[in-house]
């Protein structure tokens, strides 16, 4: 054998791949733009999924409770559940329960007194000192049970001119009349959407007074809550506590917050639809990238044959191909990410897209991965090209 072994320079794949991309930059840039558009689409789908998911989930996900108690046969639908708020007193006596309080949810119109602007919001009632009311980031928290006071979430503030200190009008239909109630906004909390709407919080008794009601409810004096929010002393014992509530309280069913979220009407269906779209878009990306590089390799058969004939080993050919795919994909994803960011700046806050979610990161990771995966076939093909092709021969 040869006495002196000479191996290719370590940077040879880098040299070859960068030179090829740079000297064909028009073609590769065009392809990076295709990847950028796929990235844009995937990121938007991910952000929309996150945004819509938040819209349904946010209040519940941030709730300072671990369990919800529903009326029996409510199918874990908060809006369909009707419980006596006094039930929370019995639940608080169940060992392992730290605190519990009634929650009421409804949809009302909020009218700014300054501009007359109307905003459709979710109005949530919870007892001060019990689970269900969010901490405020400015202003005062709700303290008095019957006060005509309100906390708004940041979405209300963003979408209207309502601010802490304002007096607002809550419009709701009670029986056949539209009633108006004046409340003072005393605090602001972070984003806590519920039912895809901006959210405001009032003391439970105030909620029971101002919420939309049927004629029967107007005539009745019994307050009704939707669910009881339960905070357990030790989250590790949640299942035990859940079982105890079920044993001790009649005619109820319980759900963890996670289960409650999954049972929000349309939530699961919406999320799986969006996820399917995302997966398919990624799959299309995979095929497009795979196809492009495969065609590229087919065009380069004689050239790769010559490289091998003059002694370029397979690892060099494979590494150069992988690097090239990585360069083009990374560039495409970077451009796509930038485009997405620029586009997102132009969206009004009402469009439910959220880019800071884990999903965006996951999507970016997957997008970077589909390049090399999509290109695998072409790399394998390149490695298998016979150097004899340089002579126009094949074995």
């Amino acid at each position: 054998m040869a006495t002196k072994v000479s191996n290719p320079s370590a940077d040879l794949p880098v040299f070859l791949s960068f030179k090829e991309v740079w000297r064909n930059r028009g073609r590769f840039l065009l392809f990076s733009l295709v990847i950028a558009l796929i990235t844009l689409l995937v990121l938007f789908i991910a952000a929309l999924g996150e945004g819509l998911g938040n819209g349904n989930r946010e209040y519940l996900a941030k709730l300072d409770a671990q369990l919800l108690v529903y009326s029996e046969k409510s199918d874990f639908l908060i809006a369909a559940s009707r419980v006596d708020p006094a039930l929370s007193t019995s639940i608080r006596r169940v060992p392992g329960v730290e605190n519990a309080g009634p929650l009421g949810t409804s949809s009302v119109n909020l009218v700014s007194r300054e501009s007359g602007q109307t905003l459709k919001i979710s109005l949530i009632g919870a007892e001060p000192g019990r689970p269900g009311l969010p901490p405020v980031i400015s202003g005062q928290p709700l303290r008095a049970s019957k006060a005509n006071e309100m906390i708004i979430d940041s979405n209300v503030a963003e979408r209207s001119d309502i601010k802490v200190g304002d007096t607002v009008v809550v419009q709701s239909t009670q029986g056949t009349d539209t009633e108006e109630y004046r409340l003072r906004v005393i605090g602001l909390t972070d984003s806590r959407q519920y039912s895809l709407a901006p959210t405001a919080f009032v003391p439970f008794q105030t909620w029971d007074k101002v919420r939309p009601k049927s004629q029967a409810e107007v005539n009745s004096n019994n307050p009704t809550a939707n669910v009881i929010a339960v905070r357990v002393s030790n989250p590790a014992e949640m299942e035990v506590v859940e079982a105890r509530i079920f044993e001790n309280i009649q005619n109820v069913e319980t759900a963890t917050i996670e289960k409650a979220i999954q049972n929000v009407p349309g939530y699961s269906a919406q999320q799986s639809t969006i996820q399917t779209q995302g997966v398919f878009t990624l799959f299309i990306g995979l095929l497009v990238i795979g196809g492009f590089f495969q065609i590229q390799v087919l065009q380069k058969v004689p050239q790769i044959g010559v490289l091998k004939a003059i002694g370029a080993p397979n690892p060099v050919i494979a590494a150069a191909s992988v690097l090239q795919i990585l360069i083009v994909t990374a560039l495409g994803v970077a451009i796509g990410g930038l485009l997405t960011f620029l586009f997102s700046l132009s969206f009004p806050p009402t469009v439910p897209i959220v880019f800071n979610g884990q999903r965006t990161l996951l999507a970016l990771g997957l997008l970077l991965l589909i390049g090399p995966v999509g290109g695998l076939v072409s790399i394998r093909y390149a490695v298998r090209i016979e150097p004899l092709k340089a002579l126009g021969l094949s074995s």
Partner: protein, 259 residues
């Protein structure tokens, strides 16, 4: 045969006692086919000395390209020995062959010779990079060789910006820059007009003689053999005739292929 080479040497100033660089011993290549075994190359033996430029001629299907592929370590023979610098190519593993190709062999092809996205200089230097030997001296040598081949102004050009003849000359520089033991050329003039074809082959011959390499050129264009030291004629896979004297070679170049 030695006597013949001596005779050729006096005619063409070859040093007679140069060592044998390449030797083939009863090399054969057979392929299975529907019609039975095809003997593409059949019992071919010859040797090429350092500093000797040999032409391999013959009609298409005569086995000359298959022979070249075996000499280039791209194909292993079915039987026989192929000794380059004393090493038997037939016994080598695939990895050893790849290494041998970049270390010991220089190659020019008919077409698609150059890497299209590398400049003339980068294409030449590629051979040094492949051997992990591109240093300042190597870069200077590459530039000098290209200048010597009349491509001093073309070093930064991509192949697409050069004529066919210029591309072939870059390929010649690439084939020689790493000081291989054996330089192979597959139809180097196929895409060139007559004048450029003569220039390219003459340059090739000069460099092989100067650098004391063994050179083999496969060509169908008999006029080009005028620059070679010896001509091997193949037919039906067999080596049928050698043209050794100047007179024989010039006769062949003039169009007299004996059958």
């Amino acid at each position: 045969m030695d006597a013949q080479i001596m005779e050729a040497a006096t005619a063409y100033e070859i040093k007679p006692r140069q060592a044998v660089a390449l030797e083939t011993r009863r090399v054969a290549k057979t392929y299975p086919s529907d019609l039975g075994l095809i003997r593409a190359v059949d019992d071919v033996s010859f040797e090429v000395r350092q500093g000797e430029f040999v032409a391999l001629v013959g009609p298409s299907g005569s086995g000359k390209t298959t022979m070249l592929a075996m000499l280039a370590a791209l194909l292993s023979p079915s039987s026989g020995q192929l000794l380059l610098d004393g090493m038997d190519l037939a016994q080598m593993s695939d990895i050893e062959r790849v290494r041998l190709r970049r270390e010991k062999i220089g190659f020019t092809f008919q077409a698609n010779n150059l890497v299209p996205y590398l400049t003339a200089l980068e294409n030449v230097e590629l051979m040094l990079r492949l051997n992990g030997r591109l240093d300042k001296a190597g870069r200077v040598r590459s530039q000098e060789l290209l200048a010597r081949l009349g491509l001093g102004e073309r070093m930064a050009n991509l192949p697409s910006q050069m004529s066919g003849g210029q591309q072939q000359r870059v390929a010649i520089a690439r084939a020689l820059i790493h000081n291989p033991s054996l330089v192979l050329a597959d139809e180097p003039t196929a895409s060139l007009d007559t004048e450029r074809a003569y220039q390219v082959v003459e340059t090739f011959a000069n460099l092989i003689h100067e650098n004391n390499r063994a050179g083999i050129m496969v060509t169908h264009d008999l006029r080009m053999v005028t620059y070679t030291d010896r001509v091997l004629q193949m037919r039906d896979g067999k080596l049928v005739k050698q043209y050794v004297t100047r007179e024989e070679i010039e006769g062949l170049a003039g169009g007299r292929l004996e059958h």
